[in-house]
Structures are given as structure tokens and as C-alpha cells.
């Protein structure tokens, strides 16, 4: 069983504006502001406590839904839209994906054990270091786009959150799927040095979880609604088993945003990360080399990932080639 590419990622923006005491600003189509989405966003946001200095990152998933995002000070994302006049504001910007039900069944059908449970499918997402380095570049435009028009809009009964549609992810998504699945890491507190592997392991598990990393003190961290809590000063423990990471292309240089925290991150991005990438990779067991016999058998196996292979018209979904679904046309709707 493998991770599968997703249908797209829709933006979630949570944070109050200067003029109105309301927080949900952008919600994906078909998702309500209550229930699972609210629980996991509350879990990472926690009224904005202790977000002045350190952002927090969320990876939450339940049946076929995954939410990845960052809670941070609004001034990190915008030099203008960050205060209500008296106090600094905080926000959460995330990306939600919903795995199509037919994709889940296609993937499950490849399994030997015939685990047809749709939950046993795992969508993609960014690695933690990728997200931590690039969240300003990824979330900043979304925050500004959603907030600019609403920032001075007064409170009214007719006010609604903007509905967002799925679009391509801002991070690199490999065409051949992500690493193989691993068991869900143990719940509880995780110290800072284990966060990257914890995140990778959480990304590679299909089980429902809510992973929040970025708290500095375990004593004041919010535990309500969180299964995996990353607190910097938590007691030491062995890092969880994570799948090997696939190499990713070097990120594009980040445009400098005056008066924002992106200045610090921009320096890290402009360095040649290709040379240092292997130093930052998690230490994992290397995959065994492919045997000569296995190579001979390759032509006799079912073709797996053929990017760009056309769909066969008139045939049901289970007759089509397995592989990445074609992306939606870019000119349809707003994509985040």
C-alpha cells in the first residue's frame, strides 16, 4: 500500500480581522466550520497562545481527509493586516485535501490482503522542514488574498466565510507517490529533536490523528484534542520509525516581504540546499537493492504509475490504469 496523490488542496484561513470579531475567513467547499475541522484548528490555534515567537504546525487527518497548516502571528504573513489597533492578531492558514472515494478503492484493490477500507489510504503533504522553511511564502499570499477585502468589513449577520476550491499544492508533490506506509507513532509528547521524523511518520500513516508541533513548553501546551504533541522540552524518547524520504527539487528563492519574518527564512532558501539536503534527511534504514530476478519480472507485472496515460473512455474506473489522476484544469475556479 502506498501514499497516493490527492485531488487537490483547498485553503483554510482562520483568524480575526480588525473590524469584526469573527474567525473563519476561508473554508473549503463541502466542509462545515464545526466538527472535525473546528476541533483540529482549535487544537493548534489555542487562542493564539505562545504564538508570538514560535509558530505551530498541524497535521491532522481522519477518514480520507488531511489538513496541513501553520498557526502563527499574523505579522509574519502580512506587514499590514496583523493588528486590530490594540493587540497583535494570530492566524491559522492550512490546506485541506479530501481523497476521492474511487481513488481509495483503486489503491486498496492493489493490496494483497484486500483491505478495502477507505481509511487505509494516505494522501501526500509537505515535510516538516519544508513547511517550516516555506510557510511564509506559501501562506502569506493566501492570507493576504482572503483578508484584504474583509479586513475593514464590519460585523454583520450576512457575513460568511469564503468557500475555497481544491487546487495544486504549493509544495512539491512527487508524481510516483510518497513513501510506503508505516505504523502510527505512539501518542503523547515528543521532544524537538524527534519532530521531523514524527511528522514524516504521521504523514505515512493512514490512521486518524492530530499532530501539533511547535510548543516550547510541555507544561503550557494544549493537549485537548491532540494525539501527538510536539513540545520542545518534552522528555527524551526515541524517534519513531519513518519511511525514507524521496529527494525533492530545491525550492524557488523566496521573495522578500518587508517587515516580516520571511527575511530570516529567505537567507536559508537562497543557499544551495542541494548540497546540504542529505545532511538534513532523517536517519532511516536504506532500502534493499532490487534483485536481478525482480528486474526480470518487471515486464510481466501490471503497469503501475504511467503519468499522462490517457483514460480509456467507456470503461469503469476499476478498468483504468492505476496512477495519478489528471489534475483539474487550471482555469476553472480559485485554487488553493
Amino acid at each position: 500500500m502506498e501514499n497516493v496523490p490527492t485531488a487537490g488542496w483547498a485553503a483554510v484561513v482562520y483568524g480575526r480581522t480588525a473590524a469584526a470579531d469573527t474567525y473563519w475567513q476561508a473554508v473549503p467547499a463541502g466542509v462545515t466550520q464545526t466538527g472535525w475541522l473546528a476541533r483540529v484548528v482549535y487544537a493548534v490555534f489555542d487562542k493564539g497562545r505562545e504564538l508570538e515567537e514560535h509558530p505551530r504546525f498541524l497535521l491532522a487527518q481522519e477518514s480520507r481527509r488531511r489538513l496541513v497548516g501553520v498557526a502563527c502571528a499574523a505579522r509574519e504573513l502580512s506587514g499590514e493586516l496583523h493588528s486590530d489597533g490594540l493587540r497583535e492578531l494570530f492566524c491559522f492558514v492550512g490546506w485541506l485535501t479530501v481523497l476521492p472515494a474511487d481513488a481509495a478503492h483503486d489503491t486498496a484493490a492493489d493490496d494483497d490482503d484486500r483491505a478495502t477500507d477507505a481509511d487505509k489510504v494516505c494522501p501526500n503533504g509537505p515535510e516538516l522542514d519544508e513547511l517550516a522553511d516555506s510557510y511564509v511564502r506559501w501562506a502569506g499570499p493566501i492570507y493576504a488574498d482572503m483578508m484584504t477585502s474583509r479586513w475593514h468589513e464590519p460585523m454583520s449577520a450576512a457575513r460568511r466565510a469564503t468557500t475555497t476550491q481544491p487546487g495544486p499544492a504549493p509544495w512539491y508533490e512527487s508524481e510516483d507517490g510518497a513513501a510506503s506506509l508505516v505504523p502510527c507513532p505512539d501518542t503523547g509528547l515528543w521532544p524537538a529533536e524527534t519532530w521531523p521524523l514524527l511528522w514524516s511518520a504521521a504523514m505515512a500513516t493512514p490512521d486518524p490523528l492530530t499532530c501539533v508541533v511547535g510548543w516550547q513548553r510541555a507544561g503550557t501546551a494544549r493537549r485537548n484534542g491532540v494525539t501527538h504533541l510536539g513540545a520542545a522540552n518534552a522528555a527524551r524518547r526515541a524517534a519513531p520509525v519513518a519511511p525514507p524520504r524521496k529527494p525533492r527539487p530545491a525550492p524557488e528563492p523566496e521573495p522578500l516581504v518587508p517587515g516580516s519574518a520571511s527575511l530570516k527564512l529567505a537567507r536559508a532558501d537562497t543557499a544551495d540546499t542541494a548540497d546540504t539536503e542529505f545532511e538534513t534527511l532523517p536517519v532511516v534504514a536504506a532500502a534493499a537493492p532490487v534483485s536481478f530476478r525482480a528486474r526480470l519480472l518487471v515486464p510481466f507485472t501490471w503497469p503501475r504509475r504511467r503519468v499522462g496515460l490517457p483514460a480509456w473512455p467507456g470503461l469503469p474506473a476499476w478498468c483504468q490504469f492505476p496512477g495519478r489522476r489528471r489534475k483539474r484544469p487550471r482555469d476553472r475556479q480559485r485554487r488553493y
Binding site: W24, T34, R49, L86, L89, M155
Partner: protein, 356 residues
Amino acid sequence: MTEFKREARFAPGRDALPSMRISLLGASKSGKSCYILGMFAALVRGQGYHQYSLSTVHHEDGIAMLQELEDLGAGKPPLGTDEPRTHEFTLRGGLPGRGQAAGVQTGVIAIDLTDFRGGAIREQPLDENDTKQNYDQLRQSDSIFVVLDSGHFRQPVTPARKNAVIQETWANRIGDLIGWTIREREARGLPAPSIAVLLTKWDFLNDQRGTAARGLADVYQDVRALLPVAFGIGLEQYVFGVSIGEFSDPEGNPRQAHIGLSGVENPLFFAAGCFLTSQTQSLQGARGQLAAERTAIDARLAKLTRWPAIIQQYLLQRPIAERRAELKDKDDVIAAHDLRAAQVAEHEKVLRGLAT
């Protein structure tokens, strides 16, 4: 130590205590969340001769609240309320009396205090947002705390200023919600909620004493003109001036200051007293039912004991013994009930006295 053990054995847990819900209504930045912090800090140490105290169900919640209050004193502005939040408190207190149980602290009321996000009262309750959840909790509220910023009452609310003050305090929305709650509760056969009007940042008015000081009596008239629905006939209401310290200047900018709690516990005492009044009434109703059941058992026993002694001795001995045992059990229940009713009445009297 013996007393503690005895009391602990007979003291009811939080689930067994009468449960009261309070909802806070007020405009954005009127000081709702800060008031809760101050109220908890004032009551966590115990108040008054009877040592009424407040504790959180989860200890870490209490620690977090006290930390937030200290942060306020350090000049850190309060964080906004985003999610519907219910604080679970237990009000404890001791009553004077004789014997080993005298003065021992016991749970009096389980209090659920709901802090509304300010903007929620201006939103339409829909299935897709949290406002509907707030409305559900408001409907269950035994008491409503209306939080108004004292800054609006530095000058008298003249007809010329009235519309501006109504707009700034969201008085129309608050009045509408109070009326809606009363109607909803009436439809369910529940008593109307008591209403405590809290004038937060009261110290700003007192600071101006000597130049433009306004007493509570003056402001009371203004509040009454602003929210007539809260002063309807048959409703219990009271106006309180409360302050937790000058953590912001008159313009609202945060600043470093000492914590100065003043009057913050009184609204809770008032709400608890009003709630115990309704409890007393329901206890009286239950007492009447218990008495009727006892009378019925007594009548059945009287029927049995009308027979000659020899028949009672040889044929009716068992049913008579059963009726007598039932009667004894019922007497015990009634005695416990009377004791509970007496305690509730005593707490009600004391709490109302403390509030006013």
C-alpha cells in the same frame, strides 16, 4: 482529619450537585474574558466568613487562567476568545452549625460558565457555524451576565447620546437575546434567567471622583434606560460595578499594572443565590411528593394494623414489617431532604447577602 474523612464520605461529587449555567453577553472588547479571570482569582482563595471558593474541574485550567491574569498585569494584552468556551467550576462553601460538620467546606453548585465570542451575538445561528452552539447554551442558562464597558457611562446617557451608546454596547442585540432566552425557557417550563449587569472597568469611573464622578445609582438609571428588557417585572436583576485592575489606559492600550480586584465575586454570588431560590422551590415540590408517598405507605400500614392482634401476629407479620421498613426508609429520605433543603436555603440567604 476525622471531620474531613466524614465529610468526604458524605459529600456529593460534582455530578450530584445542582448544576447552574451562566452565559456572558457583551460587545467585543467589553472585558468578558478578563472578568472571568478576575472572578476566578478572587474566589480561588475563598471569600467571606463562609469561605465560598471556586475551583476548576481540571486543575490545569485553573493554572492557565491565573497565568493569563498575571500576563495581563505584566502588560500583555488579553487574547481574543475564538472558540466557544465553557469553564467548569465548582462553588464550595461551609455553613455554621453544631457538631463535627460545622464549617466544613462542601460543594454547593456545579457552575458551567460560557464565554461567548463577542462577534457571535451579531451572527446568524446556522448549522455551519459555532453561533448555533452558543444559542443552545444560552437557552439553558440559569443566569445571564450582561457585560458593559463603564467607559460608555462616564457621561450621562442623554437622548442625544443614547443611540450612539446603544450602537457601541450592542444593546439591541443583547436585549433581543435576553428576550429570546426568556421566551425559550418559558416554552420549556423553566424559570426566567436572573440577569446581572456587569459594568467592567469600573475603576475608570471612580478615578474621576471629585471631577466628574458618577455613582452606581446614576449609572443604574442609564443601564435601565438602555436595556429595559432586563428590568422587566418578575425578573431578578442587579447592576454591579467590577474591575480587575487598570491594565489599559482610557484609550484601551495595554499597560503594566497591579491586579486590583474589586467586586468581581458579587455577580456570581447573586447568580448563585437566585439559582438556589429556584432550587428551594423545586425542593419544596419534591418534599410534597415525598410526604404524599409517606402518607400512602402510612395508610397501607394503618389498614394492616386494623386487624386483631392475633391475625397480625400470625398472618400479617411480614407485610406489616415491610410497610414499617418502607416507612422508616421514607422518613430517612425526608430527613435527608429536609437537611438538604435547609442547607440550600441557608446558602441562598448567605449568598444573596454577600452579593448585595
